[in-house]
């Protein structure tokens, strides 16, 4: 188990037992279904991120700063081990305003990989209160 006081060095491999957070669009488009399941598209690599997936270590995260806009984003959590078991590497990559930041190397946009991540992830409540799970429509 990861120690609650465990600190990482730059580019150090994250422990398998760490929970990581990923933001997912809540609405238009929604990546969270009415029942709380998560779309595989929430883990898709984007061109602007140069093939790296951006996440946060849960226990080091300042939720208000990470979410930015609770109407726009929901939060999902996923165990680091899922990435490592599927050939990716989660490395510590702190930013000046985000000491919890992690980058996933050697991931891909392979659909089986993306779906495996989505099936292993869970929607979580925002600590300041619960997210509504229903999709908001106009």
């Amino acid at each position: 188990m990861a120690s609650q006081s465990r600190n990482y060095e730059l580019n150090e491999r994250i422990d398998d037992s760490e929970l990581l957070l990923r933001r997912a669009f809540r609405n238009k488009p929604a990546y969270i279904s009415k029942t709380g399941t998560i779309s595989s598209r929430a883990f898709e690599l984007r061109e602007k991120d140069n093939g790296l997936l951006s996440l946060n270590i849960k226990r080091l995260t300042a939720f208000e700063l990470f979410v930015h806009d609770a109407d726009k984003f929901a939060l999902c959590q996923i165990l680091t081990k899922v990435f490592h078991d599927n050939g990716a590497r989660c490395l510590y990559a702190p930013e000046s305003d985000n000491p919890a930041h992690v980058l996933v190397h050697d991931g891909s946009n392979d659909d089986v990989y993306l779906r495996t991540l989505a099936e292993s992830a869970q929607l979580i409540d925002y600590p300041r209160g619960s997210y509504p799970t229903a999709i908001v429509t106009e």
């Binding site: 488009p29 929604a30 598209r41 898709e44 984007r46 061109e47 946009n109 779906r115 495996t116 429509t137």
Partner: protein, 165 residues
């Protein structure tokens, strides 16, 4: 006593005479011309919601993810709607649909233990099968093979209920 006129909609010559439900979202006039009866075509309320979501994908412009996401093409939207209508015609509810940054549309169908994901890309349409969160199989998706996908989804329900063939 008030007598209401009896109207036989089923035998009407034109679909324009059929009642069309009114919904609280706007048609995407600039991206797609809605046809009378588009909503009325779908049996399942849940599928009508998915239909509205897919139409909304047409409103997404390039960079909709605050990055470099591609616009979802009309071909992909039309094909996703065709897939939705075919499942609906078989009485099957689609669980969810979402757009991807590479211009694709993900369509999910679920039961308690099984998941079928159909991915409509600009260059191909494929499917994935998962059971109890584990990958089972994948392949190219064809509308004519929709019955085999429904059989696969339903066969697990039969097994879970102790029904054997």
């Amino acid at each position: 006593m008030v007598f209401l006129p009896q109207v036989d909609f089923a035998s009407s010559a034109s679909s324009l005479t059929k009642p069309v439900p009114v919904f609280n979202f706007s048609p995407i006039a600039s991206a797609r011309v809605m046809k009378v009866g588009d909503f009325a075509d779908l049996k399942k309320t849940a599928n009508r919601e998915i239909q509205a979501q897919i139409w909304d994908f047409a409103k997404l412009r390039a960079g909709w993810d605050d990055g470099s996401a591609k616009q979802i093409g009309k071909r992909e939207i039309d094909l996703a709607l065709d897939i939705l209508k075919d499942f609906d015609a078989c009485g099957i509810e689609v669980h969810f649909a979402a757009p991807g940054v590479n211009g694709e549309i993900s369509i999910e169908l679920r039961n308690a233990s099984r998941l079928l994901e159909i991915l409509v890309y600009p260059h191909e349409t494929s499917f994935l099968r998962f059971q109890n969160k584990n990958f089972i199989s994948k392949g190219m998706f064809k509308l004519v093979e929709i019955a085999s996908h429904i059989d696969w989804l339903h066969s697990s329900e039969a097994q879970e209920n102790g029904i054997t063939e």
